[in-house]
Symmetry: C2
């Protein structure tokens, strides 16, 4: 029997077997482009990332970031003097300077080097950190009853009863809906907050061989020793923290695009994760909805706000 | 007639039509996971990103970045004093602090806000900046003869003669092999360097409706007004700069995974791009080659080098 949810890519490609392909003019060498044309172009894209900002939740032992205008690093005759701020009006462009007191900031991808002196750094991650199956395990109902609930192996098994075995190499995100408190920086890290049990992490990595797990809070669990993160990092696994919008993603059947800045030897990852869900999923945007070129104009000119971030500013001069 | 280069995804999915799918146990709801299982898991992944570093090529009007150890942002009783450096030995982890004098640094994705006060910022980019078809147009042979060669419309048309029409929404990278000079920071920006002509940019965006183009140098062209970048930014298009390893990617048939850090209102993008090429491509790694979990151990313990970057350090104490 054919599942009603048979992958769209299979159904569509079946209609494109040799006879219809040969009727087309070039492209002759489309290789993996059929994946885009037939599966991901019309898929629903959901950004799982908090934009990081000068004021936001951060672990108490770290500090906030500073955003400010870039100034000239050197004299360029007839153009700019060292130390002068670049402006749209005078120079035709702006740039931004950051003082980032920690790489554990915002939606992040922790490499093992964060905790282990023999661990891989962010620039050591292989290029296969790119596109993976995305599994979303919901614990938000249990968190409503107990904000300190930690995901158990049974939650994983319950997911598998509904959707089948977790694919090897998948990214497994734990949905707690905790991300909705992001705009309350002072209390985002208050305990209790939802976590992931060490047993569940071991099960996901050792039995299901996932790529990494992710969660919405900024710590993996509320144990005094952070036992889950310690086990992951010292066993050379990565993890994602501060993930957003998991309530807008299917539990099964989406892909995840894994992006991050790549500083040499980085011990943390300023990350951007995007879920790519089947075309019939109700949330998210397709390429037709948001092509990205050209991009929409701002409603008002950009100016730096009191924290140094460029924001549309009605009435700006 | 069937092309010998018929997409692998079609050939493979054809063997997985209903009868064989129904013979499987769960997963029942695999949605887009078939894209991974059948097309990208076994594909060749190539990182197109320079890891950014404290000393590297940068536009002369900007400055270098500073990397250093993160220190405590606050007292935590019995654990850390404000200002104390986090260490593996005492605290069980490290973190890194960055002073980034510009967001135009390393392999980057420029949003229109870099030049246009009504332009989209990096945090405005829609989630459809994720996975796209990758086109690589080679000009490296012309650059060998003339280092100041700028890609012309004819180079695009020649590519189309070989591979068919550029897909709408694609990312078009211009291969010049200039990236091989990255380790010579003092002279990377010396003129002449290879560029992209304004006519070619207009053709790619207005006639072919690409998502963005990218190039290996840190500027789009060598005109005094940077006419190409000016046109792109003021017409609300993005562009990639400082791209690497395009000599290891096919001219047609690969996908690109688009990643970047997402600061609120950012006027530049610290990016990471990964090409995903068909399985029979000679360069790159598959998930089987580099699963990413667990990651390899360092050959020696990580310590900060003289520029503040964590590097494996034989004999470290």
């Amino acid at each position: 029997m054919v599942s009603k949810r048979l992958p769209a890519v299979i159904l569509i490609t079946a209609s494109l077997l040799p006879s219809s392909v040969s009727a087309q003019q070039p492209p002759q060498n489309q290789g993996l482009w059929s994946v885009y044309e037939q599966a991901t172009k019309g898929a629903k894209h959901i950004d799982l990332t908090h934009a990081f900002a000068p004021v936001q939740p951060v672990w108490p032992g770290f500090g906030q970031a500073e955003f400010k205008a870039t100034t000239a690093g050197a004299d360029i005759p007839d153009y700019v003097k060292r130390g002068e701020e670049y402006t749209y009006a005078k120079h035709g462009f702006v740039a931004t300077s950051y003082v980032l007191t920690t790489d554990q900031y915002g939606t992040q991808l922790d490499p093992p080097a964060h905790w282990d002196e023999y661990g891989a750094t962010i620039s050591d991650l292989p290029p296969t950190f790119a596109v993976r199956p995305l599994v979303v395990i919901p614990i938000q109902e249990k968190v409503k009853a107990d904000p300190g609930y930690h995901m158990q192996v049974q939650d994983v098994l319950d997911w598998e009863t509904r959707h089948g075995r977790i694919p090897e190499g998948a990214v497994v995100m734990v949905r707690s809906d905790w991300y909705k408190r992001w705009n309350n920086p002072k209390h985002f890290n208050d305990k209790p907050f939802p976590g992931v049990s060490l047993d569940a992490l071991k099960f996901l990595h050792l039995e299901r061989k996932i790529l990494f797990h992710g969660h919405e809070p900024l710590d993996t669990d509320t144990t005094p020793t952070l036992e889950g993160e310690a086990w992951l990092m010292h066993n050379h696994f990565t993890q994602a923290e501060g993930v957003a919008n998991l309530d807008q993603v299917p539990e099964a059947g989406a892909l995840i695009s894994i992006g991050f800045a790549k500083p040499l030897g980085g011990t943390g990852g300023y990350a951007r994760f995007v879920a790519i869900a089947p075309a019939d999923w109700p949330y998210g945007v397709t390429v037709a909805d948001a092509s990205g070129a050209p991009l929409p104009k701002q409603s008002a000119p950009l100016r730096r706000d009191e924290h140094g971030a460029m924001r549309p500013t009605p009435g700006a001069k």
